[in-house]
């Protein structure tokens, strides 16, 4: 059977649609629109919130580490948190781009490539933000203790900070092992409890989509 023979059958759907209402697009009411709009506003508000938090963290930490040049542990903690604040801002801006700049009336290959790249970026960011928490709580704790009650933990007990660091590194390595090197069955089970991100399948899917688009663009 030839594809052109199937065209006639396909055209029959159009004829049929004039008589039937298989999809009730009249559901497209004001309520539905308001719901869609509200959902988008919340996502945008979340991204704006993330940018604002990033700005506050960046400004606070920049001022903090500049005024603690004489205390290496606090200086380093401030710089690490400063970098985290900048990363929050970048991630928030990218999220906004994903939400606002997605013009579905653009050419399909263009917009799908844009979406696949952003999706891939978003998954990676989410993963690295998650992993960073294992370590970030230590500089955050050091800075907060010193800023709020004037207590420099590193100066009083570097061993405690060393223990914190050991716990953080152990947690980080265990998570990395679970994500990349653990037996596949265990990884799948963990993935069921957490989400697909932890097993990397979403990332693989985003890469597959990019490969598929590149292949489609080639003659």
């Amino acid at each position: 059977m030839e594809l052109d023979e199937l065209k006639a059958a396909w055209q029959a759907i159009d004829v049929q649609l004039r008589q039937q209402k298989l999809i009730n697009l009249e559901l497209l009411t004001e309520t539905r629109m308001r719901k869609a709009r509200t959902g988008l506003y919340w996502l945008q508000a979340f991204a704006i919130g993330q940018i604002l938090v990033g700005l506050v963290v960046t400004i606070f930490c920049a001022r903090y580490w500049i005024s603690h040049m004489d205390a290496p542990a606090l200086l380093l903690s401030g710089i690490v948190l400063h970098a985290y604040g900048v990363a929050l801002i970048i991630a928030g801006v990218m999220e906004m781009l994903l939400l606002v700049r997605t013009d579905y009336s653009a050419q399909i290959v263009t917009i799908q490539k844009h979406l696949a790249l952003l999706r891939q970026w978003r998954i990676r960011t989410k993963r690295w933000f998650g992993l960073a928490q294992w370590i970030l709580w230590i500089p955050a704790g050091l800075v907060m203790l010193e800023y709020l009650i004037g207590f420099d933990l590193w100066a009083h007990s570097p061993a405690t900070v060393g223990w914190f660091l050991a716990v953080g590194i152990a947690g980080l390595l265990s998570t990395l092992w679970l994500m990349y090197w653990s037996p596949r069955a265990l990884r799948r089970r963990v993935g069921d409890y957490l989400d697909d991100n932890s097993t990397g399948s979403l990332l693989k899917r985003a890469q597959l989509a990019l490969d598929e688009i590149a292949n489609f663009e080639r003659e």
């Binding site: 030839e2 004829v15 039937q20 697009l25 559901l27 579905y104 696949a116 899917r205 489609f216 003659e219």
Partner: protein, 170 residues
């Protein structure tokens, strides 16, 4: 959006709702998915409506948005299977109606099964081809060259021949 605008949009959407129906069928896994996708397409059309240029063909504009939404819909849900068999209910619905003969229904079922085997972008190309868009229009909607469209269409023709060929005849 003014009441007139809303009315104009509603009229055009109703007139071209076949596009939404066909795309939702080609990309959805089950009835629930199909309705969700159709609604999502309609919402995105409505959002893009203020930037619609009346000098352009409404159906082509609608195709671009609907296909983009459908492909994104298929890819965004972690639980959604990428090459799941699309629903056949639409064809079953038609079987209850006297307007379409059995041979056409059989062909439509076969066509739906074939569509299910295609990657999302090739599905988009096939839908545009079946709706008799010109090579130029297809290239414009998809964002690839006209010669690439021609090459891909001939490959699709070969694939459908292989798809319908009985085992052992290949």
């Amino acid at each position: 959006m003014s009441t007139d605008d809303r009315q104009a949009f509603g009229d055009l959407l109703q007139r071209h709702r076949g596009i939404v129906f066909k795309i939702a069928n080609a990309y959805a896994r089950d009835v629930e998915d199909r309705d969700d996708l159709a609604q999502e397409i309609a919402v995105q059309l409505w959002r893009a409506w203020p930037s619609y240029d009346p000098a352009r063909r409404f159906s082509t504009w609608m195709y671009r948005i609907a296909l983009n939404v459908a492909i994104s819909f298929l890819r965004s849900d972690g639980q959604r299977r990428r090459h799941a068999v699309p629903l056949d209910e639409a064809v079953h619905d038609m079987a209850d109606d006297d307007g379409i003969d059995h041979e056409t229904i059989a062909r439509l079922r076969m066509l739906h099964r074939f569509i299910a085997t295609l990657e999302p972008l090739n599905r988009a190309l096939l839908l545009l081809y079946l709706d008799e868009h010109s090579t130029r229009e297809m290239a414009e909607v998809l964002g690839i060259s006209e010669s690439n469209v021609t090459t891909k269409i001939s490959r699709l023709k070969q694939r459908i021949r292989d798809h319908v060929a009985p085992p052992g005849n290949e």
